[in-house]
Symmetry: C2
Subunit: 344 residues, 2 copies
DNA sequence: CGCCCTGCCGCAAACGTTTTCGTAAAAAAA
DNA sequence: TTTTTTTACGAAAACGTTTGCGGCAGGGCG
């Protein structure tokens, strides 16, 4: 059905040359006379010859494609990150193959397995919320598959990592709430198996301690699927609001959690920030038109994607095994808006 | 560097069989005795044999991957659509390769060229705002590359198309504004070369005419890059607001345009809906927490992506050339919120 | 004049499959 | 028993490349 593309063989036949000569000519080998090269090049251009990348992949053992595993692409942070990944990959002539784990451990395993058997040259991964063991990735890594983690990383695999400065981001967000005079600051965060959860929790705790407050576990709610399931978030929020000492501010530690929480608060008719103030991690470009406009910790998602991709391609194209690994920590930006401002 | 995977050859050697026997056994051919099949299967499973997809692609002439071209993935509508595309593709064992045109004609050409030379089995495309000629796609289509258009389609290529009912969506949005009593209804829309622009414009005009009003071109502003460049939107909005008979309502005809316009109106301190009402196409999941909450025409993005993918895979796997093409038109949903409600 | 060197090119193997065809042995039919 | 059919497998070509090696000229050298 598909129109047969022109191959090296066709060129060889047309020019009365051997296949190998044509191949070498196209690659500019010194074994071939200038004259012949010219002729071959000319013919190739004229007939719009494109080398078959599949054949090349088979021969070279590299596919010039990289696999991505994220929990969900329909998320501001990840779609921005993928935007960055795609642009760098394209520029270096790599294809980007996207998969989604939907926060499921099973699907993450299946996707990593599938991508590696599909012979991608490398992997860029942000772990799923359900993932507690990374044996599936360790196995692939040991087999020599280059991988770079971003956002949700693991300590169990020695390779490049790209993360936002979650600790500092959370610290600043919490400190901001404290400076505004809030004292009972709760946190709604993702699964406690995630690196980002830990880091954001630590930053939050440190800020409280620096202000002479003791973190209280009653005020910390883990949402196992990071906001993908609204009901889980509602549950966490409701529990917080029913506490004797109801929090006067909430820090939501991920993108989906932030928007969902704000939405729920509005449905519950709870005034923000009057009754409860809110600060959240989010990369929504619309945070300034929320009601109230949402004070946000914004991650440099695009840059994170770009960096991760550059590091991965370095790994892939390294002549000798790489043993020094970077952990890139990019600063977040705290955008102060109405949702966190003390009104009284 | 990469650990060599086990191949059919290895199995053959280990079991004292020929390569062809193993291949047939793995595919369950009737030519092979049950006994041998069992042995091969067992060995394969035990050693975690995975067929090399690149070799298979080369042999079969199909890559089991589909290419996507959208203007930008960092956009609610498209990320939701890609979510749908990915899920269906995954289920049918196709890979999804993503590219972004960034609304550039040049990049769309380069991407389509690149994807086809990368031998994807098919293409799912939403045209870029700059695209006026589709010769580059016609060429590929004539060569036999299956393609499905979605969202922004063209009449010049006979193939499946999946779109939202833009006409009806725009009609309903405009009618809603009319019912609320607004009379000077402006539209800010995308490049006038896009199908969606035309359809949404027609629905808008029809609604006006049905209400006995004459569409006025002063009230219609085209934004060439569909909101990717905020300054263009600002320009359009400013011009509208400076008109003698300033519009009392605006209908924004795309996702980015809607959020950007609302954001600009807030920055300009123009009260919505008191001074200007607003209805927009948007798939933002946060439209209900905007200030004011935004009356939206919501497209079934996920379903559109799924449908487009199913149709494409049908085309790819069709035994005989397909000559009957579908144009799937999926209904939008008008979510009425505060931004369009008459207050006086 | 014989030698080697260099320039230019082709042969053939290889990457990992799939598939067509051939063929031996075993089973069935004569 | 011989002939035919069936069963089960292997040899080899093919997909489109890349690459090591060998060969054949012609030219420079001794």
């Amino acid at each position: 059905m598909k129109f047969e593309a022109i191959t090296i063989k066709d060129i060889a036949r047309a020019l009365n040359l051997s296949v190998s000569t044509v191949s070498k000519a196209l690659r500019g080998s010194h074994e071939i006379s200038e004259e012949t090269k010219k002729a071959v090049m000319a013919y190739a251009r004229e007939h719009n010859y494109k080398p078959n990348p599949i054949a090349q992949s088979l021969k070279r053992g590299r596919s010039k494609s990289i696999g991505i595993i994220v929990c969900n692409i329909d998320n501001n942070f990840f779609s921005q990150a993928i935007n960055g990944i795609e642009s760098v990959a394209r520029q270096k002539d790599y294809n980007v193959i996207i998969t989604q784990s939907q926060e499921s451990y099973e699907r993450e395993m299946a996707n990593s397995e599938h991508l590696s058997s599909r012979s991608v040259d490398g992997l860029i991964i942000s772990l799923s919320a359900e993932t507690k063991k990374v044996d599936h990735l360790i196995k692939l890594h040991q087999k020599g598959l280059p991988m770079v983690f971003f956002d949700r990383v693991t300590d169990e695999i020695a390779t490049h990592k790209v993360i936002a400065n979650n600790y500092k981001g959370a610290y600043e967000a919490t400190r901001h709430l404290l400076q505004q005079g809030f004292r009972r600051i709760a946190q709604i965060t993702s699964s406690n198996s995630l690196s980002i959860t830990f880091e954001r929790l630590e930053g939050y705790k440190k800020a409280l301690e620096d202000a002479g407050l003791k973190p209280d576990s009653k005020y910390i709610k883990f949402v196992q699927h990071g906001g993908m399931i609204p009901e889980e978030t509602r549950q966490a929020l409701t529990e917080l609001l029913q506490l004797k000492n109801r929090p006067d501010a909430i820090f939501t530690a991920s993108d989906r959690l932030s928007t969902t929480t704000l939405s729920l608060l509005r449905k519950m008719q709870i005034a923000v920030p009057q009754e409860v103030a809110l600060v959240g991690f989010t990369n929504s470009i619309s945070a300034d038109i929320f009601h109230p406009s949402l004070t946000s910790v914004v991650q440099p998602a695009l840059e994170m994607g770009q960096q991760a991709t550059e590091l991965l391609i370095q790994l892939i194209e390294a002549k000798r095994p790489v043993t020094e690994f970077k952990k890139c920590i990019l600063d977040t930006e705290l955008k102060i808006r109405d949702s966190s401002l003390r009104t009284t």
